[in-house]
Assembly symmetry: C2
Homo-oligomer: 200 residues x 2
């Protein structure tokens, strides 16, 4: 028993953070105690506060402490365009691009039957009820180009074809990324790039 | 404003942890909110509790929520041997070796005049008063073999020579680490290894 019981408990608790193993947790606990008690206290209080108050936005499912998030409240976004993404981090990526002015719907995951994640877990009923409100004309499926992301995109597009046939559904293009070299591109991506070629 | 104010505040607070930059903090905050709310709450409460209750052991300066830490309370450690180390992590390393059965004194840092860290900040007055109690016969200086660690060891050894001339002061040996190859050892270490050679 080299660390005191409470210190041990703190080190154990810190391991719930992603990417934090036993050594990193030790370093974090000792550093907080040695040099950073004020910030540590603030972190603990903010964390409690955030976990209590932050819930999902009722419209786009993003994290928000208010019923409607900032992006859903603003009148400057085109209400006829809806971009469907997997996680709030992806929203960051799309917004950084700077070209998209529509609204979002965040699945908070992707379909993964083996892990027990079905349509209800990724907010499909909520998406459905949002689509029936009628102002949306195009849906851009921007789930990740992984097996699960593609399956999720396919599932949603089929659903929209069935229940909302007037809405246009698009998928972001797959192809060679800018700055990439053909030599290092996998053949699946290259096949997509050839199939999706455009006249210049 | 892509993240809600409270989420932003949480991400900012997480950056007080060592080695956590903006991207990692984002990932941590989102993961805690998405999948780990219970553990997150427990972490916050443990952190508050630890920061409030954990102080320094009055004898060895290690972190402890009680006035005397576990290692100082146990009767199984040799009270005539005192090992001086820089941080609680070093105690872990020495204990893992398994050969040392004496007691410890933890400086919680090293002398660093440029950063304003003087003898009072590394507990020298407390060490002095512990030495005057008289049961210690040997002090092992096990500060790190860095410039600051060596300077700190030198300072303490001079102090002991002056005020407690009956106490034997030793420094852990510098030399070639086991499993190392001479080809890759720096010349400073090699010089120490030659100067400290022993008859076999």
């Amino acid at each position: 028993m080299l660390f005191s019981p409470l210190l041990k408990q703190l080190i154990e608790s810190l391991r719930c953070l992603p990417g934090v193993g036993p050594k990193t947790a030790q370093r974090m606990a000792l550093q907080l105690l040695e040099r950073n008690r004020e910030n540590g206290k603030q972190l603990a209080q903010t964390l409690l506060n955030a976990l209590e108050k932050i819930d999902h936005c009722t419209s786009c499912r993003n994290f928000s402490e208010e019923p409607l998030c900032h992006l859903c409240k603003t009148p400057h976004r085109d209400p006829s365009l809806l971009c469907i993404i997997e996680s709030p981090i992806d929203l960051f990526a799309v917004e950084q691009m700077g070209h998209y002015r529509g609204q979002y719907f965040i699945l908070m995951g992707h379909l993964s039957p083996l892990d027990g994640i079905g349509p209800d877990n990724i907010g499909i009923p909520q998406l459905n009820s949002r689509l029936t409100q009628g102002s949306i004309r195009e849906i851009i499926l921007a789930t990740n180009p992984t097996v699960e992301g593609e399956a999720t995109a396919h599932y949603i597009s089929e659903l929209i074809k069935q229940h909302h046939p007037t809405i246009k559904t698009t998928r972001i293009a797959h192809g060679v990324p800018l700055g990439g070299e053909l030599e290092y591109i996998d053949s699946g991506t290259l096949a997509h790039a050839f199939a999706g070629r455009e006249v210049i």
